[in-house]
Symmetry: C2
Subunit: 221 residues, 2 copies
């Protein structure tokens, strides 16, 4: 994927990546996307579930929602997925930062009308959140499908940005008696909590009992 | 804070909150903000460090960055902070969802020029990321200050959205032999890793050794 004028990373370009493996790895490891639209000219940023299928990213939502009604028009949009892997503490305030992996997708959403592709998107979004869980649940019925819009954007204009490692201090600060390093952060799943009304004898499936999601630096690379 | 036409939550309005305590609690618990601008009319969403001081949210960045150069013009912008607290698994695909806390701020950034307010913002952003750590590090010098823009937005047009609890299934699905419940998610900090060049005898300060950040559902409420 060649960067465009819009997708080329300008600041700290040494952290930029445009190769599909890096972009796809970050998209697959993230939990929520932050989707940006312009609404009457002003940006609106909303967290949404999403999934990647090959070179396409899907989001879905209610036919009544502002963001889905805007996306379906094909207006310009932006999808950003960020994973914070740690806090980088330098000897100076200026060089404090974070280790992270992020992807920014620019594009125009395509309203997905084909029933098979819509079902692919529903399944992909559930399986992105909890792999393998789609097989466990009741599939969407006609009324539910009518209430739901699905949009797609392809990974044409996309960039990733990745920072790993310790602080980069100024040479003149290296003699300061200041501790420096990284505090790694990761997201963990605690044991699942059953709903009060689960039928007797219905145990959590493997998609739930085996669920774990770690965002520690390096997992995806 | 009264909702405006733009900040009023339309979808699932029962999850909406506009009171300062809820909004401020979420802002204080988040790690990164997703900041949206319109760049040549198209939305761009970028993850950024941030901090709240009373009714103001600050971000900072390089004078060379696209987002800071746009924010300083006072164009419309949006700041969204999201914490995912869990995955909600229902008996149907349609009712799958997440437990989360999010805040969406609409406004126009103000370029912060006053040196004292700029320093307040620098300190607040570092202390938001690692409380108490500002005292440990070398403060910004004149050259670093010249390279950094600080912008502020006030919490005038802001909404929060919070979902907690288990799945909400359709009555007709309650007899299905499908497990349903929640997988709680939270972010944890692993033990800090020192830089190779920390001077002998310099131990990590309490701001590092005591650091922990939990985003488990309910922590902030």
């Amino acid at each position: 994927m060649e960067p465009t004028a819009r997708s080329r990373v300008r600041r700290l370009a040494e952290r930029a990546a445009y190769d599909p493996a890096t972009v796809e790895g970050i998209l697959d490891a993230g939990v929520v996307a932050h989707v940006g639209i312009a609404w009457h000219g002003a940006p609106v940023v909303i967290p949404m579930a999403y999934a990647r299928v090959r070179d396409t990213v899907y989001v879905h939502g209610s036919t009544a929602s502002r963001i889905m009604r805007t996306l379906k028009t094909g207006d310009a949009m932006c999808i950003t997925v960020t994973i914070v892997d740690g806090i980088v503490l330098a000897r100076s305030a200026f060089n404090m930062g974070m280790n992270y992996r992020s992807v920014v997708i620019h594009g125009h959403a395509r309203l997905v009308a084909d029933p098979a592709e819509r079902m692919t998107a529903f399944r992909a979004i559930m399986d992105h959140v909890v792999p393998g869980h789609w097989e466990q649940v009741r599939a969407p019925n006609e009324a539910e499908l009518r209430q739901t819009l699905v949009t797609a954007v392809t990974l044409d204009e996309v960039s990733a940005k990745v920072r790993v490692g310790g602080p980069e201090d100024e040479p003149e600060d290296m003699g300061l008696p200041v501790w420096a390093g990284e505090i790694p952060l990761r997201t963990v799943a605690d044991p699942a909590v059953a709903d009060d009304h689960v039928l007797a004898g219905v145990d959590p499936p493997a998609s739930v009992t085996d669920y774990s999601r770690h965002f520690g630096a390096g997992d995806a690379f």
